[in-house]
Amino acid sequence: MIEVKKLVKRFGLKTVLRGVDFQVQPGEFVALLGPNGAGKTTFLRILASLSRPSLGSVDIAGYSLPKQAAAVRARLGVVSHLPLLYPDLTAEENLTFYARMYGIQNADARITEVLEMVGLEQRRKDLVRTFSRGMQQRLAIGRAVLHDPDVMLFDEPYTGLDQDASSMLDGVLQTVAGQGRTVVMTSHDLARAEDLATRFDILSRGVIAASSTREGLGKNNLLTFYKQALAG
């Protein structure tokens, strides 16, 4: 579903990604872990077609970036730590706007379906500025799945959420992933990543330093695997 080969990204003289190779099979939930500055967000922005690779190839769902970016974007849902929502529009108006941008047919029915999925049906007429951070993040997931994407990218989705909101987001994430989607999530929260993901990739100094499936961890927990990968 996702195939990245020898990806390099430079910002001026600074090289952030130094030849990343990364493959994800359909239906996999990959947690991309790593310290601050490892290049996780840059990597996800390239997958989301928000940033151009300096070198290397990126294919998503059979389409190549950046040449077929529009086709990739139609199959991609992105959630970041910012909600990408307009505070002066209601939840329904925000989703209506994105439904128009994605050319979704039967938008009203789909919006109702998505609002029910993220548990915000009762608040559909309320302005987003009145929502808590957790509710905004749930609506952000609703926005991202509105066009029924095959691939979901989550960039630190738990940032700024309290314990209750994080637990609720766990449920929404499991629902989204449970619908057969391919998911890539960056996170600093190893415990959450261990609960949700089926594979763990460690990005360090601009390359994938280690990769393991849940079964491949064996007796080690994710923290041990993570520390070993960074030390090596």
Partner: protein, 237 residues
């Protein structure tokens, strides 16, 4: 929590180009209708400027006619900068610009949608400023020719301004950077607009006004075409 079922289809990007333009413009207008933060800032600034000029320039009726176009376009240009800056800052501050760029549409649709909404905000401010100016300065500004010049000047100004605002918004010094980038580029539009407006206000002959009108139209077309071609590169990292 209900399981979402797969009821939608992926739409080809090209088919929703016009709908995307309309969606971006609708979204900006609907949000502004609620918050009124952009329009009120532009309007307060514009009214203060013409009020200050009214007290600063105690002129006879003939001189008033000759300085009116300059005062008006100074007011519109600076008020426009406030609007353009705010319009893009709203997108950037909450990451909404990324949300727009993630949509599977030609990115020029986003540009044209923003131009339409920015133009609408500028025209609303102008529609309020003109009658106030007419009363304060005792000059009739409601002449079809003058209104056409204001429309053409505003189109050119917002076409360039929207492009440069999307460039400036990526920087930390966006509030300072936009006027520095914008004013040198829009000088031809402002000069043509001031000259053409002045021509109508002083009842100049049409053959004196026409070259400035033609220049305005030419710049509107050229700047819109350039912005259409480069917008994708401006907003992508």
């Amino acid at each position: 929590m209900a399981e979402g079922t797969l009821t939608t289809t992926h739409r080809p990007a090209k088919s929703s180009f016009w709908k995307a333009i309309a969606a971006v413009a609708w979204k900006d207008l609907a949000a502004e209708l609620r918050s009124r933060e952009l329009l009120s800032a532009m309007l307060v600034f514009s009214l203060l400027v013409i009020l200050i000029f009214n007290f600063a320039l105690e002129l006879d009726i003939t001189t008033r006619r000759s300085v009116t176009s300059g005062v008006l376009w100074t007011t519109f240009a600076f008020a426009g900068t406030i609007g353009l800056n705010r319009s893009m800052a709203i997108e950037k501050d909450r990451g909404c610009l990324d949300g727009l760029l993630l949509a599977p549409v030609d990115r020029s649709a986003i540009y044209f949608g923003k131009v339409i909404s920015n133009l609408a905000f500028m025209l609303i401010v102008e529609a309020i400023v003109l009658p106030v100016y007419s009363v304060l300065y005792n000059i009739n500004l409601f002449q079809p020719g003058l209104l056409l010049v204001i429309l053409l000047g505003s189109i050119g100004y917002t076409a360039v301004g929207t492009l440069l605002a999307s460039m400036a918004v990526q920087t930390r010094t966006r509030d300072v950077l936009l006027p520095i980038l914008l004013f040198p580029v829009v000088v031809p539009i402002l000069i043509a607009a001031v000259k053409a407006s002045g021509g109508y206000l002083t009842n100049a002959r049409m053959d004196e006004i026409l070259p400035w009108l033609n220049l305005l139209i030419a710049y509107d077309v050229i700047f819109t075409a350039i912005a259409f071609m480069v917008f994708d590169y401006v907003v992508e990292e």
